[in-house]
Structures are given as structure tokens and as C-alpha cells.
């Protein structure tokens, strides 16, 4: 799960909710969906809490090429 992007994890979370809403499945499958859904929601939350705005500054070098350099701004 650690490599999932927020968007992918969220899509899987939605799929788990939809699957459970459908309801026609063995108990073990339902529990799997439930537990996976809860984990995904938690994971998404952690991603949001950990996120830090990345800032890069655009400039043009002497050859006229565009450069991006990390910028540390308060």
C-alpha cells in the first residue's frame, strides 16, 4: 500500500465501499473489503497529513534552457 498514490488509494477505497454496498458476498470477502477500506482511509489521511508543498523556481540558463531549482521559502 505504501507505494499507492492518494488518487489510487482513494479509488480503491471507493471500490471497497461500493462492493460492501452491493452486499452479495461471503462473510470473509466482506470482512476483507471492510478491513482494506478502513486501512485505505487511514492511509489516505496519513498522506494528507504528511504532505508538504514542494516549491521550485523557474529560470532560464545562459543557453536559453528552462531550469527548475528547489526553493526554500517560508
Amino acid at each position: 500500500m505504501e507505494s499507492l498514490t492518494f488518487e489510487d488509494a482513494y479509488a480503491k477505497l471507493e471500490a471497497a465501499v461500493t462492493a460492501l454496498q452491493d452486499g452479495q458476498m461471503p462473510l470473509e470477502r466482506a470482512l476483507q473489503y471492510y478491513e482494506e477500506g478502513m486501512r485505505l482511509a487511514q492511509y489516505c489521511n496519513e498522506l494528507l497529513q504528511k504532505a508538504e508543498l514542494r516549491i521550485q523556481q523557474l529560470s532560464v540558463d545562459s543557453q536559453g534552457m528552462i531550469e527548475l531549482q528547489p526553493l526554500d521559502l517560508p
Binding site: V17, A30, A41, I66
Partner: protein, 404 residues
């Protein structure tokens, strides 16, 4: 006439004529430029225009006759415009007024800027640059946000502060520019072009904080308007304060009133997402509890059926299996119910920490059919007249289906 050895008494007309002659024979006064701000400007159907030219301490009546206006092809004069008027001073005997008979005017300062603004705006509007159907919609979740502003300005800090709090998932590409002075327009246009050339930004914020009309002027230049218009990436303008409108605002895909508002318009707010995630967790738990209680009911029914069934040996075996399953289920249910309790108290704390307005806007409810307590997830499950109960966080609302 003798003036200094009274007792000569003059009529008003005599004095007025004297004053008029005095003024009209003065070379300076017959060929003079006067600078000030227009007020009380009125143009009559005759085509003559009357106004007062004033500065902080004094005022001067002016008349700009139709012929003079036509000869000098002067712009339309309006109150508040700063002008330099050229003409001659004379005395209007009928009203006893000293007046400037204007021969021509030139706009200066804000007056000149205002006229250029209006002319460019009209020209670009005629070209269709402000058309609504040219406006691109903004991406809902831009991964990369371009910012065009000055590195020194407060505007950059305001924009970054909003992006950090609302949407720290984003990456920012900052294209530094001058935002005032004669080189600012070309600098802003180049920054917009470079962001397009680099190509990663999904939305561009072009802004600067408040200032005088001269300080904001770069955003009224054609070169900036054209750069915004040709940008493939949607542009949000946030220039000055709420009341400042620039040409850039008219061309931009979205006009925000300030740099802060521009940043808020550029990205979604993850606070909404966090509430949504909590809602989803609640939903999952509700569904699971529902599923387990359904299974429990089925189990009870099966047990009753089995008690009526034969042969006895089969019954015993089944009963044993059922008991095992029931214990397992009971344990799961307990586990999930206690989990739900923790989640709900956790959620309550989180929700409390968030804006109550956002919370209220996000109602989460479970709808059940009264006849069998089934959760209603589709219109196919209900008929007109059915009694339903909407379960919300603090209670239940009984409702009746009117139509489907």
C-alpha cells in the same frame, strides 16, 4: 476714467469691462497651460462643456466650447480626470467670473492611464479576448501550480500560505517577475510564456498585492493581456484588492479579487477530503454492521428450521456447526462494534476541530425501510407510500416516500 483719485464710482459693467481688458491684454494669460483635476463637468446639448479645474487649494472655472473641442479632438472629459488644459483667461461679465477658455486638453497622470485603459479594453473586447467561451475551466486538483509574481512581494507569501494550508499535495513552480515599473509588463508576459513552455503547471496564478493604479499598471498592458490569452494553461488573476479591475482580470480564465483568493480558487481544500474520508470510514462500518446483523438473522432462522427437521444426528451436527459460527460472528460483531465506537469518538473530535460550517454542509445519513429495516440504496427498493427512517448523527427522521 480715473481710478485712483476717487470719487469716481464705476458701474459693475464698467469694472467688468476693465477687468476683461486687463486680462485679455496680458500675454501670459492669453497663452497658458493649467494643470488640475476635473470636477463638476457638464456638457450641454449645445456641445459646450463646462467644468472646474482644481487642485488641493484652488479652483478655476473652465469653459470648453464645442468648436474648440472639435478642433482639438479632445477625449471625453469626466470628473476626476487629471488634465493639463491650454487656453486663455478672460472675465465673463454676465456672471462676474474669471474663466479659462479652453482650446485643448491633454490627459495626465491617472487621467491619461484611464484613457489608455479604456481604449485597450475596448480594442481587446472587440477582438473577443474577454469572451466567456474563451475561458477555460480550472482543473479541480492541479498537481502543479504555476505562480507568476514578484519574489519580494507579500503576494507570494499569501499565495504559498493558502496553498500550504489548503492543498499541500501540490507542487509549485514559481516564475519570478517584476510587478511594477517599465520592465514589468514584458517580465510578466515572459514568465507566463515560460510556464507554458515548461508545460508542467496545470493552472497559473498571476498576481500582485494592492497598490496605486500606477503600481498595478503592468497588469493593464497589452503584452500581458496577450500572454494570458495565448497561455494554454488556464490563468487565474489576483491583482490588488477587491475593487481593482485590470485588463489582466478581463482576459484571465478566472478573476480572483486578491492573490489570496486566487490561491484558494486554484486548489481544492483537503479539509473537505479529510471529512470525506471519515464519512467513508463510517459508511464502511455501518455496512459491515448491517451485513453481520443480516447474517445473524439468517442464522437464527436456520436454527429454528433445523430444530423442526430430522434426522436427529444431522440436527446435532448442524447445531454444533451453527454454534461455532454464531460464536465467531458474535466475536466479529463485538470487535467491529467496539471499533466503530472508537472511530465515532475519534471522528467527533476531528469534526469538532474543523469549521462547523463545513461539517454541517456534509450530512451523512442512512435511510432504512421501516417494514424490514433494510438499508435503502436504490430507488428500486421503495414505493410511494413506504415509510422510511433517515438516520443522522444525532437521531432519526421518519419520512414517507411521496413519489419515485
Amino acid at each position: 476714467m480715473q481710478f485712483f483719485n476717487a470719487p469716481t464710482v464705476l458701474s459693475v459693467t464698467q469694472l467688468s469691462r476693465y477687468l476683461k481688458e486687463l486680462l485679455e491684454t496680458d500675454d501670459i494669460l492669453q497663452n497658458i497651460w493649467v494643470q488640475g483635476e476635473i470636477s463638476g463637468c457638464k456638457t450641454y446639448s449645445s456641445g459646450h462643456c463646462y467644468f472646474t479645474l482644481k487642485d488641493a487649494e484652488s479652483q478655476l472655472q473652465c469653459v470648453f466650447f464645442k468648436n474648440a473641442r472639435l478642433r482639438s479632438s479632445a477625449p471625453d472629459l469626466r470628473d476626476g480626470m487629471g488634465i493639463a488644459a491650454y487656453g486663455r483667461i478672460s472675465f465673463y461679465e454676465r456672471d462676474g467670473k474669471l474663466q479659462l477658455y479652453v482650446e485643448g486638453v491633454e490627459l495626465i497622470g491617472e487621467g491619461a492611464l484611464f484613457l489608455r485603459f479604456e481604449q485597450l479594453k475596448a480594442r481587446l473586447a472587440a477582438e473577443g479576448l474577454f469572451d466567456e467561451n474563451r475561458k477555460r475551466s480550472l482543473p479541480s486538483q492541479p498537481a502543479v501550480v504555476g505562480i507568476v509574481t514578484s519574489p519580494q512581494a507579500a503576494a507570494l507569501r499569501d499565495i504559498l500560505r493558502v496553498l500550504r494550508s489548503r492543498y499541500p499535495l501540490a507542487e509549485v513552480i514559481f516564475a519570478p517577475t517584476l510587478v511594477q515599473g517599465s520592465e514589468a509588463p514584458a517580465s510578466i508576459a515572459t514568465a507566463i510564456d515560460l510556464l507554458n513552455e515548461q508545460g508542467e503547471a496545470e493552472v497559473i496564478i498571476v498576481g500582485r498585492g494592492g497598490g496605486s493604479i500606477e503600481e498595478l499598471w503592468a497588469f493593464n498592458e497589452e503584452i500581458v493581456a496577450r500572454a494570458i490569452a495565448r497561455s494554454r494553461i488556464p490563468v487565474i488573476s489576483g491583482v490588488g484588492h477587491e475593487t481593482d479591475f485590470t485588463i489582466a482580470d478581463f482576459v484571465a480564465d478566472y478573476r480572483a479579487s486578491t492573490p489570496t483568493a486566487a490561491a484558494a480558487a486554484a486548489v481544492p481544500d483537503i479539509a473537505d477530503w479529510q471529512i470525506d474520508l471519515q464519512t467513508k470510514q463510517g459508511e464502511l462500518t455501518e455496512l459491515m454492521v448491517e451485513l453481520l446483523s443480516d447474517l445473524g438473522e439468517k442464522l437464527e432462522r436456520a436454527q429454528r428450521d433445523l430444530q423442526r427437521a430430522n434426522p436427529r444426528s444431522l440436527l446435532d451436527r448442524r447445531r454444533q456447526q451453527l454454534d461455532d459460527t454464531a460464536i465467531l460472528l458474535q466475536a466479529r460483531l463485538q470487535h467491529i462494534l467496539s471499533l466503530r465506537g472508537e472511530r465515532l469518538s475519534g471522528m467527533a473530535l476531528r469534526l469538532h476541530a474543523l469549521s462547523p460550517l463545513i461539517t454541517i454542509a456534509r450530512g451523512f445519513a442512512v435511510v432504512r425501510r421501516d417494514s424490514d429495516s433494510a438499508i435503502v440504496t436504490s430507488i428500486l427498493q421503495t414505493h410511494p407510500g413506504d415509510a422510511l427512517t433517515i438516520q443522522v448523527t444525532d437521531g432519526s427522521i421518519p419520512v414517507e416516500v411521496r413519489t419515485i
